[in-house]
Symmetry: C2
Subunit: 316 residues, 2 copies
């Protein structure tokens, strides 16, 4: 009997994987390095070693319905990972097929934020919802859009790149894409650090952040300073929330979701970022959308969420 699925979440630095039952319990999980594998083959070989050990513990391959994989620039239609800037493997990688050939069980692959959205729908804050948008606020900004209970993939499988939508025309340069004024260039960990650096270098305002070498300021530094009441740091979150809120208003007027689920590092700033986000979202919505859309923080355990999300692809 196929009682379990495997979830694999591939990140630029590390890869998380685990075995999940139908109720969303992560029975076993572990982690390995992504970036040390310059060859995708050796990566898959190591993944196989770890996973077959785990799979034995739950009764062997016969108990496994399949492997769900979330990866940057993962494409559900083709099973490929395409030109992922943060992965060591370049070009178009037929990743799902390679894993399927190795493991001899079904494989589904999609992008990491889409996988996270499916995880939220099955086990998290979006349980029971048919229309919602998942936004991951990490090093970058990812998104997964669910409408009428289905992920929106678009004609080519690449829908839901909301982090790259333009919110400030001719605004801040995004070094990864070469584009200007995208949501990701402001509302990511990278963006928060840059906003702090800009305020510090363009003014003489006092700030505890001035004790840190300016180029090595991180979003965590800004968060810690803001918690202690630093005015510059607090303004950075206020500004980030403004940009995020304006963008969320646009997303709401696109697909009219019941809720927007936020996930990732920046959500730890809590009301410091959520309050301006809500305020500027509402301020930019036309009347029929006002006071309807919930902004929720994912309550899945961060270490499990990625694995759960990827594994959920196989229950779909």
């Amino acid at each position: 009997m196929e009682s379990y699925v495997v979830g694999v979440d591939i990140g630029g630095t590390g890869t998380k994987f685990g075995i999940v039952d139908k109720d969303g319990n992560v029975l076993f999980s572990s982690e390995m390095s992504t970036k040390k594998h310059l060859q995708v083959h050796t990566f898959i070989d190591e993944l196989y070693e770890h996973l077959s050990e785990m799979i034995e513990k739950v009764g062997g391959f016969g108990r496994i319905k399949g492997i769900g994989i979330g990866a940057p620039n993962g494409n559900i239609y083709t099973g490929t990972i395409e030109y992922a800037p943060n992965l060591p493997w370049k070009g178009v990688i037929p990743f799902a097929k390679m894993v399927q050939d190795k493991f001899k069980i079904p494989v589904k692959l999609t992008n990491d934020a889409n996988a996270a959205a499916v995880g939220e729908m099955m086990y998290g804050a979006a349980k029971g919802m048919k229309d919602f948008i998942m936004i991951t606020l990490g090093t970058g900004v990812g998104s997964g859009i669910v409408a009428s209970g289905q992920l929106i993939y678009g004609h080519d499988g690449f829908a839901g790149e909301l982090g790259h939508t333009v919110i400030i025309p001719d605004g801040r340069l995004h070094h990864g894409t070469g584009k200007k004024g995208s949501l990701e260039s402001y509302a990511s960990a990278t963006g928060v650090a840059q906003s702090a650096r800009e305020i510090l270098s363009e003014s003489d305002r006092p700030s505890t952040l001035r004790t840190i070498e300016i180029d090595s300021i991180t979003s965590k530094d800004v968060f810690e300073a803001a918690v202690k009441g630093d005015e510059v740091a607090k303004e950075v979150f206020e500004f980030t929330g403004k940009i995020l809120g304006m963008s969320l208003a646009n997303f709401v007027m696109f697909s009219s979701p019941e809720a927007i689920i936020l996930f990732g590092g920046l959500t730890k700033a809590g009301d410091m970022i959520l309050k301006p986000t809500r305020e500027h979202m509402e301020a930019n919505l036309i009347e029929i959308f006002q006071n309807k859309v919930k902004i929720l923080i994912s309550h899945l355990k961060e270490s499990d969420a990625a694995i759960l999300g990827a594994s959920a692809l196989m229950w779909e």
Copy 2:
């Protein structure tokens, strides 16, 4: 045998209606005033008079599968028209139910741009497509979004208000909504006229538009001047295309459509607006979306398109 459907397109000024067969032929069609009916009951009574006459010509009510209606702020879930700023009937009108009670046949109602999208999918430029976005560029900017062959309605039926998405933060005031910097405040007939007025009043540049009283300049005047080579008028379309193109890039990164179908008055400006639109869309797209998305002009006969779109709801 139910061989025909009725399509009704309600606009602020007039209402178009007609009888359509399965191949999308509009057999009979006509028009009546919307705005002279301050009471929705008298409007429906007049509509019934016109339509029952037409319906008799095709063999009576037994031949009619139902009535599809497109209306501003029409809601497919509830069958209501809600707070439509340009209609004479205020508040929430249970329009579908009222029409159904009068005609005793099934009725489906949605917003006018959604109806137009269904029409394009069944009979027009989007035939055979499963993922596309319809943008109507008229007095205002409407939109209908189709993903995986289904209209996106959102949790409350109001999805697809792309004309109200913010493209220039703190930009031009939209008098109808009180919001600033929306696509509609620039890329509509109203927006084009205002752009012309702004350039004329903020500079001394020569323009044939200066022969017209500035407050009565229309988008048609700007179009005619541009065709004759007027530099100011040409710049207005260039600017409008830039704003529209940036917005389209955002929409593409949301739902990754195969094509964007443009419909309505502004499309008559042809390459004067399409060229900058394409250029600025591509310039704002990240690599995986570049040179993939078609921008197409609806080729449905304008007088038929609205009726066809509304009627198509009943074949869905």
